[in-house]
Symmetry: C2
């Protein structure tokens, strides 16, 4: 089924204890769509600047990503520079240059408006609302956010959540949003606002899927002896999750659980190399192999 993502397309520079890369392809919608493209065709709405390298356009097109919704704005592409220390779980931002993203107002091409699956990546909740207003209600809407919007625009974010089925966010983000340390209790607060499902991403501690009717699912991360760059792991997770769900068109809890596992697998590939490199070279047999290994890692 049709899957649409609205989010950022960026140029990242990143330093980790394992190396440094400058001006590589980044952004939430980028990681999401490359990851989801392993399961389904993805439509992307976002904006880049006139300086956005043609090769990155081809990179996305080679993954079958539909770029009719990718606007080319006046000015430069959104840039992010960050570094990770010894503890790879936390990104330290060196700078964020919004550039064309500053005045981004998502325009949804007519043929995207009936998309059945929608992922609102981490952007201003007012823009997330605008997207929802301009579309036929999709079969399933998931959204992400970040500390910045939780703190600066809680009311707009709550309006978004009213319209959203699945809220996908980090453990630190849901704790901040709900003002509650216990993750289950924090999810219950989210359920009062609209979403029926909360997915909590916990970095190398895995992910939780919690449902309004009491469903609890806990998926450990894939165990790896080498992590090079965690950038994009969360969006790759969301891409694997939504890509799988939309390819199966199965909205049962059991289907969502399997989707969390695919999200986990895709995130594990993402962190193995800088930027989306590993995701770009991925074959379906790699995914199947890793899934088989994952099953061995968790069975008892």
């Amino acid at each position: 089924m049709s899957l649409l993502v609205v989010g950022s397309v960026a140029i990242d520079s990143v330093k980790t204890p394992f190396g440094e890369r400058k001006e590589v392809l980044g952004g939430s919608a980028t990681f999401f769509s490359i990851s989801a493209s392993a399961f389904t065709k993805v439509m992307l709405v976002g904006v880049v600047g006139k300086d956005f390298p043609k090769k990155y356009i081809r990179t996305l097109q080679n993954k079958g990503v539909d770029l009719k919704g990718l606007e080319v704005g006046q000015g430069k592409t959104f840039r992010w520079k960050g570094k990770y220390e010894y503890d790879l779980n936390t990104a330290h931002t060196i700078y964020t240059k919004l550039n064309v993203f500053q005045n981004f107002s998502p325009r949804i091409p007519a043929e995207y408006k009936k998309a059945e699956y929608l992922f609102l990546a981490n952007i201003d909740p007012r823009l997330q609302l605008l997207v929802l207003k301009n579309m036929k209600r999709p079969r399933l809407v998931a959204c992400d956010t970040m500390n910045f919007w939780i703190t600066s625009s809680p009311q707009a974010l709550k309006k978004v959540l009213k319209e959203v089925d699945i809220f996908i966010l980090n453990d630190s983000e849901i704790r901040l949003f709900a003002q509650e340390s216990n993750l289950i209790t924090a999810a219950r607060y989210v359920f009062t606002l609209g979403p029926k499902i909360v997915i909590i991403k916990r970095g190398d501690s895995g992910a939780l899927l919690l449902t309004k009717n009491g469903g609890c699912f806990s998926a450990p991360a894939y165990l790896m002896d080498s992590v090079k760059d965690p950038t994009g792991a969360g969006d790759s997770f969301a891409g694997g999750f939504m890509g799988y769900v939309s390819s199966r068109n199965d909205l049962s809890e059991s289907g969502f659980r399997k989707a969390v596992i695919y999200g986990t697998i895709m995130a594990s590939f993402c962190v193995q190399d800088f930027g989306p490199n590993r995701l770009l070279s991925l074959k379906s047999k790699d995914i199947a192999e890793r899934l088989a290994n994952y099953k061995k890692h968790v069975q008892f």
Copy 2:
């Protein structure tokens, strides 16, 4: 089969965001033996002072713990006072009064010397060595440690590890010990020193079981909406693990995986109330019920 624990018996005072308790039963050998007693009979070697309340002796005896190895020393019982903030994963020590524990030198009663399962709880590695020297080599030896010994007595700790089958410790501890952030790589370092198995406790992120021959097992923590006091969770985990292993006498990886799950379940009971309260009221049907729930939380 016979299970022996050598470690501390203490009187704890603890404050968490959910309340405060003064002078409750604590100590690594205490939590371990109460937890393990759900699966098997436990022999305990430790020391208390003359002030140790008789009621706590009865508490342990009621769980079938063999206290012939519990020495009553001149002076006061080991005391620990700590608090937990919002983040229940980290204990902040207010004071540690070693008292009789200061000059503790474990004496192993003759009938304990042939114990087939041995857990060396977190004590001075020199004492852990002394215990090993004074016993027939058990079928299985596991040990714990803490940051203090890793930093102050790394050589003694390495001597212990030479004699140990399973090293059970926290993620932060193994990172410190191996000077390595990646947990699999850190475990590989431990394998060069003796142990064939490493179990890494990760608080509410669960536990990892890693084997020298490449086995990887990842067990999420039991999801709970209320945690009152994490004190003793690690030792309750170890008690559930070793109690189950010794009750089954099964040293296969599959047996160890099941034991990690029982450790996880016992730790989840431990944190539900202050001190060992919840563990003390536990019935075997509670364990079976929670195990059934746990299975529902992880299946996909």
